[in-house]
């Protein structure tokens, strides 16, 4: 069981209010992703939940019980650190068994659980190696193994994939998702990468400067961003924002349109292609549109437009409208 409830949780380091006050409910079994730019307080929030930092005020409940002042070990949570934090002088087997040993579990049960975790994570052949003799992906798996043997109420991941290369990252992303599907344990996952957030999450929490900007399912955030920050942060490439006369036509201070919602061909907007990237499956164009500014366009397939060409564009999807305070209309 792993329902986690934060009420008015505040954290300051000296003078600085890193987290000015957060209310959040994480349901049992959910895969929740905290996403936001670097330095917005994601790790701090995760560490507050883990118990590695003390809250300045507010309460944290785990499974309905107040855990605000419990030490980390008593919260029943397991954490996977960005640096993996494996114990370098212990073998993989000992690393994975460490939490069990600390819990005073008997040796036979320890071995059984380690073997089982190693099998799930494809580590059976590496159990007698030291972390120093493993590749990045294998170390990552050991860190996850150390977390799952304890059968915690919830897993906490702090940017676990940021030290891996791109190909491995996609693989591990899927493995973690599959792990969640088979364990059905609550997972809280911190990342600054919105692609990871979109692909893995049941529920995304968008953070900005220690505040929650929006909470919702991935497509909910994509389709109905509540404000300019979320609109700009979710989606890749970034949403185009247009102000001035064009926005006024839609009765808004700012309008936003995603690059994939602009069609190349006939249309009301005309401009010069500045940069064009052709990936085969997609083409990305940066177009300096007369009277509007630069728009990023993502067109499916191959588009024959190159630097210096004049092309016409048309909106072909939802136009998001925002008021003067940046809130969606």
């Amino acid at each position: 069981m792993g329902k986690i409830e934060l009420t008015k949780v505040r954290k300051s380091f000296g003078e600085v209010d890193v987290i000015p006050g957060i209310d959040l409910i994480i349901e049992d079994g959910e895969f929740v992703v905290f996403v936001g730019p670097s330095g917005c307080g994601k790790s701090t929030l995760l560490r507050l939940i883990a118990g590695l930092e003390d809250t300045t005020s507010g309460t944290i409940e785990i499974d309905g019980k107040d855990a605000t002042n419990l030490p980390p070990a008593k919260r029943g949570l397991a954490m996977v650190f960005q640096s993996y934090a494996l114990y370098p002088h212990m073998t993989v087997r000992k690393n994975i068994a460490f939490p069990l040993k600390m819990a005073g579990m008997d040796q036979a049960e320890q071995d059984k659980r380690v073997e089982r975790a190693a099998k799930v994570l494809n580590l059976s052949n590496y159990l007698d190696r030291r972390p120093g003799q493993l590749s990045g992906g294998q170390r990552q798996r050991v860190a996850i193994g150390r977390a799952i043997v304890r059968e915690p109420a919830a897993f906490l991941f702090d940017e676990p994939l940021s030290n891996l290369d791109a190909a491995l990252r996609v693989g591990m992303r899927q493995e973690i998702s599959e792990l969640h599907q088979s364990l059905k344990t609550t997972m809280i996952y911190v990342t600054h990468d919105q692609v990871e957030a979109m692909t893995m999450a049941d529920k995304i929490v968008v953070l900005n400067a220690g505040r929650i900007e929006q909470v919702g399912a991935p497509l909910e955030l994509y389709n109905f961003p509540r404000n300019l920050f979320v609109a700009g942060f979710i989606g890749s490439p970034r949403m185009n924002f247009i102000e001035g006369a064009e926005a006024a036509k839609h009765n808004a201070q700012t309008i936003g349109i995603r690059p994939e919602h602009i069609a190349v061909g006939d249309g009301p907007w005309e401009g010069v292609v500045g940069l064009s990237e052709h990936l085969g499956s997609d083409s990305f164009l940066k177009v300096a549109v007369d009277g509007i500014g630069t728009l990023t366009v993502r067109a499916p397939g191959e588009v024959h437009a190159h630097h210096g060409d004049r092309i016409r564009l048309a909106p072909a999807g939802k136009i998001h409208r925002f008021d003067a305070n940046g809130l969606a209309l």
Binding site: A50, G51, L52, P71, P72, A73, L77, A78, M79, F81, Q82, S83, A85, L86, Y87, P88, H89, M90, F98, P99, M102, A103, R146, R150
Partner: protein
Amino acid sequence: MSTHSSRLAARLMVAPSVALLLVWMIVPLAMTLYYSFRLYRLISPDRTGWTGFTNYVWFFQSPDFWLAMGNTLVLVGGVLVITVTLGILIALLIDQPIKGQGVLRILVIAPFFVMPPVAASILENLFMHPQNGLFAAVSMALGYEPILFLQDYPMSSVIGIVSWEWLPFATLILLTSLQSLSSEQLEAAEMDGAGAFSRLRYIILPHMTRAITVVILIQTIFLLGIFGEIFTTTQGGPGSASTTLPYMIFKQAIAAKDIGRAAAGGIIAVILANIVAYFLMRGLGRNLDN
């Protein structure tokens, strides 16, 4: 650094210092070895000549010799145990984030900069002195007789003095090692349910083995030759109770003015040092490679 010419160049450039070090080491050693087989007393300089193993035999038959050997090892072992244990504890303590950490660290390191005879005098006269010493004052304040440190506990006193001098060195090396331990590892252990003692036992100490090994090896080298502290305090006494091998050699060379015997003692000390080094390296050497 792996082409033929670069390796050759490297060897050529290292050669002069290697040669110098070799001469530096070999010449005194050879001379000591030479004198150890000679009859050579400064009191009777005309009577010289080869004496075979007489000088060595004198040492081995001297009633003080085995005592001095034992004292030497007790001194080294005692100081190692005290400095490593206390060094770890102090390092753990001053690694905590507190106000005035920088000043505190300098204070902890300071005794290392005091010269050995001065350090010994400070401790002897300001702390251990039966009339003026701090310890005596404390004893009397509590209604006890002052302890006659140098008289009743000569070896323990010397060990205490030498430990006071070497503790900063041990602390410094151990503190550096402690600071290189990633805090995430400790936090991971904390989340894994390890209490303070388990973290020390399973995470911190294993991380520090290398540094502990370095401290033990370096200190052993220096401690085997401890002399000044004994000279300024107990003078090897009472009787021969705190005589170590270096002090015995000194007594032969300076008091008895017998260069031949002193040289033989020197060679015995070299052999002892090598035996100690052999066992240390066998026991601890593998901690050094990664």
